[in-house]
């Protein structure tokens, strides 16, 4: 029974990863920018939850919409002021840029909140489901993650604006010719991607301890997930996230947590070396 419990627990964690990775995927799809600062956007989301919880005693679940809204605006502003300038430039300049942003945000967070590990104690108990003892936070987090991923999926599939986003990621120039305001699509996509990173950060804050350097491990996880699940497709990212969640939880259970952290890197490097065409697929 324990092994099943570990697997289910990993699946629940994977749901949170999925939100994060899907945001990264969305940003890359629309503007061909690999956002190395995505982990730091997540970290900021986590700190918004932590801050609202400790300073104002707000229920962590209520902080999630706030974290989403704040980081959406932040993402739009970031896109408008900085990232927009490297659109259409070689991938490497956007890589360097977002790497700089990640370093910058991390530094700012270290100054604001110090390097200490923080936590948001909420729903700390566990609950018995079909004979499995599952952490309540993970269950709640998984449910919220499902709602957010599903909501974004619906937004992309069922709305006119979602169609514009999809058109832009397929062929930006053609989309523009057809009358889509590509700039607005880019702003919205970066905002949406940031918001998804922030939500996953808020959820992670409830599950694990957080600190300003947490982004670095999560960005590698996201790359590993996209490697596993294949490009663009929401389903693929979701599948990859669940797989990674389970693999990590199993590694942590059977070996140690240090090694669990290595799983993502190992997956990332192995798949890239075996399939050098790159994991975001046909981006050319």
């Amino acid at each position: 029974m324990t092994i099943l419990q570990v697997i289910v627990s990993g699946l629940l964690l994977g749901g949170v990863y999925a939100v994060f990775a899907a945001g990264l995927n969305l940003i890359f799809g629309v503007m061909r920018v690999i956002n190395l600062g995505h982990g730091e956007l997540m970290m900021l989301g986590a700190y918004i939850t932590f801050w609202l919880f400790t300073a104002f005693g707000l229920n962590p679940l209520l902080t999630i919409p706030l974290s989403l809204a704040i980081m959406f605006v932040f993402g739009v502003l970031l896109q408008a002021s900085v990232v927009e300038r490297v659109i259409g430039k070689p991938l490497l300049s956007s890589l360097l840029l977002t790497f700089g942003l990640s370093t910058l945000f991390q530094g700012v967070a270290l100054n604001l909140w110090t390097a200490n590990y923080r936590s948001v104690p909420y729903l700390t108990g566990s609950i018995s489901v079909f004979g499995l003892d599952l952490s309540q936070t993970r269950l709640v987090a998984f449910a919220i993650a499902l709602v957010v991923t599903g909501g974004t999926y619906l937004l992309l599939r069922a709305t006119r604006f979602g169609k514009a986003i999809r058109a832009t990621s397929q062929q930006a120039q053609m989309a523009q010719v057809c009358g889509i305001d590509v700039r607005r699509v880019r702003f919205a996509s970066f905002g949406l991607g940031s918001a998804m990173a922030a939500v996953s950060g808020s959820l992670i804050a409830m599950i694990f301890t957080i600190n300003p350097e947490m982004g670095r491990t999560f960005i590698s996880r996201a790359f590993a997930i996209i490697v596993l699940g294949g490009l663009g497709s929401f389903g693929g990212a979701f599948f990859g996230a669940l797989t990674l969640g389970v693999a990590e939880t199993l590694a942590a259970y059977y070996a140690d947590t240090q090694l669990a952290e290595g799983v993502a890197y190992a997956v990332l490097v192995l798949v890239l070396l075996i399939r050098p065409s790159g994991f975001f697929g046909a981006d050319e």
Partner: protein
Amino acid sequence: MSDHAEVIEQRPATGTHGDGARSTDADDSGLTTRPVTAPLPAWERHLPRIYLVTLAIVIVLLAFVPQRVSPYNLTLILTVLLTISLSTSWNIISGFAGYTSFGHAGFFGIGSYVGALLLFNEVMPWILAMIVAGLSTALVALIIGYPALRLRGPYFAITMLGLSEIARIVTTAWESVTRGGIGVYLPILRDSTPNYYAMLIVTVIAVVVSYFVGSSRFGLVLRSIRDDEVAAQSMGLDTTRAKLAAFTLSSFFPGIAGAIYARHVGFIDPVTVFAVIWSIRAITTAILGGQGTFLGPIIGAIVLTLVSETVWSSNPFLYQVIFGGLIVGVVLFLPGGLMELMQRFGWLPRSRRL
């Protein structure tokens, strides 16, 4: 990337210097607003000699430094030298060849550990241990480079990020050899002068190698890979071999510098020597000075290290804010770094020797 094309095309086929004939022709055609090939000034030809004289003077000056300055300033100059060797070697693969590496911290860390463990177990004399440390990172680069360099630029960058972290995790987990997260304590040295001289020699070699890479045919091959790898391949260039050679060279100096650093500070652990800040430092200094040039990383390393050590060394977090901000600023407003700024003002020609 049009700027890079100019760098390659700068030399008139006739080999004449200083005449304005070519640019006049271009103006007559009425098609180009700016001459693609600005004539090189006469002194450009003498650059190798100018460098040689400058290098000799600098070496002589730096050789007498340990007897004259305080231990604090000696460590400061050692840090400058360390940063020069890091940024110069990063520039070989990332600046010249355009394969941006976010993982040079990995080489620095591996070098530190190999060097420190050889010293700790008293296997060999320390100078030999330093060299072995450099050779081992070069070997690591050779092994991972073969598959990793097949990846196109962005994927290579992400893979390097992962590989550097894997190196840290393996070092932490492999307790029987590396002593794990506890770290390695080395005997405290009363005199850091030998470390200083070792770092000086390594930096000088790194700089000289970087010059020859930058100004040679090999450097042209690397630049053509950066500008258009497929085109370079179809011209019959062995791009794989060139990339691998550049990568191996680029990893050797961080390894040896890491080992000297370990001996100098006397204590290392995985968190400090594999810290991403080593990559950040190499990248920021190199792109501030001007990536893909010979002088850029040197200028960037000197300027940034001196400024940072004197102004904000007391707050390591602020350090990260400023470095991050600098990367963003340079990428947005000055992609060619300080070198490009000077070239734009016409103070420096667009020469491959710079």
